[in-house]
């Protein structure tokens, strides 16, 4: 049957996606002697020792907390500034709107490596180096344009008559926006928050450059540990698995909107 063949191809692809992740998980529940000693598809003696190491050592788990804090700050900032702007882009023509929109997008195209040094100097000079705010603001460089872009797509799908009716009914703009419009684009906001979370969570270069001790993110902890103390594969794998968990949880909440969100609400 034709359908069977299609599904086999899909299964092969998903297997290809999951195999490396499985291998990481597999290593995280092995001891180092087993990792280095023999090639086993399933661990002989599953152990949670590697996870225990991470969850009891502040040097490790503070990294997760730091990452969560700056990601959360970034998502809030991005949404708060992007919501009104996206509304403006979706509803009004104004002087320079097209250029502004393209200029915003160019920031999404800028290689973070270009901004590395200036960011470092900028945040050092205003005393924000090694704070969560610094990383959150730096990530706004690509998250705010992205948020505007996605939200604009979702907002353009809402008929304008709704705005007009509300104004005729005597709603002021802030009241209309907060009580009618935002509930209407809930799913868009959810998807946008998901994307801001995603790009802030996965970014390493800026987060690592702008922090040293107090706000050091987990991704930086991982790269530094590898270079410093040789290779403790088991703990490294466990740390990797733990960074996947928050992402997997977040995807579950937006699973029905993901496809539309990836298309920036433009389908």
């Amino acid at each position: 049957m034709k359908f069977q063949k299609r599904h086999i191809a899909l299964l092969v692809y998903i297997l290809f996606l999951l195999l490396p992740i499985y291998w990481l998980f597999n290593m995280s529940i092995k001891t180092n002697t087993e990792i280095l000693g023999s090639m086993t598809l399933f661990p002989d003696n599953p152990t949670l020792a590697n996870y225990a190491t991470i969850l009891t050592d502040p040097a490790w788990y503070s990294g997760y907390i730091n990452s969560m804090i700056y990601v959360a700050i970034n998502v809030v900032i991005s949404l708060v500034v992007a919501l009104p702007a996206a509304y403006a882009f979706s509803r009004y023509n104004f002087t320079g709107d097209k250029h502004l929109f393209f200029w915003l997008l160019t920031n999404r195209m800028a290689p973070p490596a270009v901004f590395l040094l200036p960011f470092f100097q900028l945040y050092s000079s205003v005393g924000l180096f090694d704070t969560h705010i610094a990383v959150a603001l730096a990530h706004c460089l690509f998250n705010v344009p992205l948020a505007v872009w996605i939200l604009e797509g979702f907002m353009s799908g809402i008929p304008k008559e709704i705005d007009e009716t509300a104004y005729i009914d005597g709603y002021s703009f802030p009241r209309f926006f907060a009580t009618i419009f935002i509930p209407l684009i809930r799913s868009g906001i959810g998807v946008t928050a998901f994307f801001c979370f995603m790009f802030s969570w996965v970014e390493l270069l800026l987060a690592r450059t702008l922090t040293s001790v107090n706000a050091k993110p987990i991704v930086a902890t991982m790269t530094r540990t590898v270079s410093a103390s040789g290779l403790d594969w088991g703990v490294l794998a466990a740390a990797g698995v733990l960074t996947i968990v928050p992402g997997a949880l977040v995807i579950w909440f937006v699973r029905n909107y993901i496809a539309k969100g990836f298309a920036m609400g433009r389908v």
Binding site: L141, I218, R255, A263
Partner: protein, 290 residues
Amino acid sequence: MNKITNNKAWFLVLPVFCIVAISAIIPLMTVVNYSVQDIFGPDSRFFVGTEWFQQVLDDSRLHEALLRQIGYTFSVLLIEIPLGIGVALTLPRKGWGVSACMVLLALPLLIPWNVVGTIWQIFGRADIGLGGYILNMLGVSYNYTQSSVDAWLTVLVMDVWHWTSLVVLLCYAGLRSIPDAYYQAAKIDGASRWAVFRFIQLPKMQSVLVIGVLLRFMDSFMIYTEPFVLTGGGPGNATTFLSQYLTRMAVGQFDLGPAAAFSLIYFLIILLVCWVFYTVVMNAGQREEQ
């Protein structure tokens, strides 16, 4: 949709403008500033004009990195776009399978980039990694830390693993927007599978494919973290792409002037390619509509 002209809308855009200006214009000005000066210390700096730009443009190692980058980005696009379309066509359209596939497909996208590097670093090793072990068992001599071809291929496969899902999800969103009536009409006309793809599915996917190609181009052109973790740019310079080279120049050797000049050129290349592609495709789309 007809939009009202209202310049008060600027007030709504102002917060975004300010925040992006702080994090984009000021740093960019710093880069421009560095690119035309030679800086010895806080108080001793000299204007050097276009010297750094000339030095960067004559840098033969930079040319190699650029060629490597172009080859890499094209390989990424050539593999990921067709593969993404193909996988999107096999996805189920309804039922519990949809949610399950969405979550599984999106999973690689949510993994921090350095962890992606770590995953493949572990997976590809011949002694402790499943992938490298199987390949060597099959008689393929494979070692990404020694052979530059293997290293390059590993980085490529890693990128396919990491980002094809993005293309899949985009295409899937495009496919879902096709009403069933189109397929029924095609069936009545006796259209072949290829004709359905060429005349119904592909046109509907066009706008999302533009987004997909643009995103994949930009991101693969600035790839840094994954090869940094996986191979560190080696062996030799086999996987040293532009961002690696730039970071090494700016942070490693602290050559601020050349690094800044290079940054500007780098940024302009990306902008130019994206702008040209975007304009060409959008114009083609408008012509078709007319």
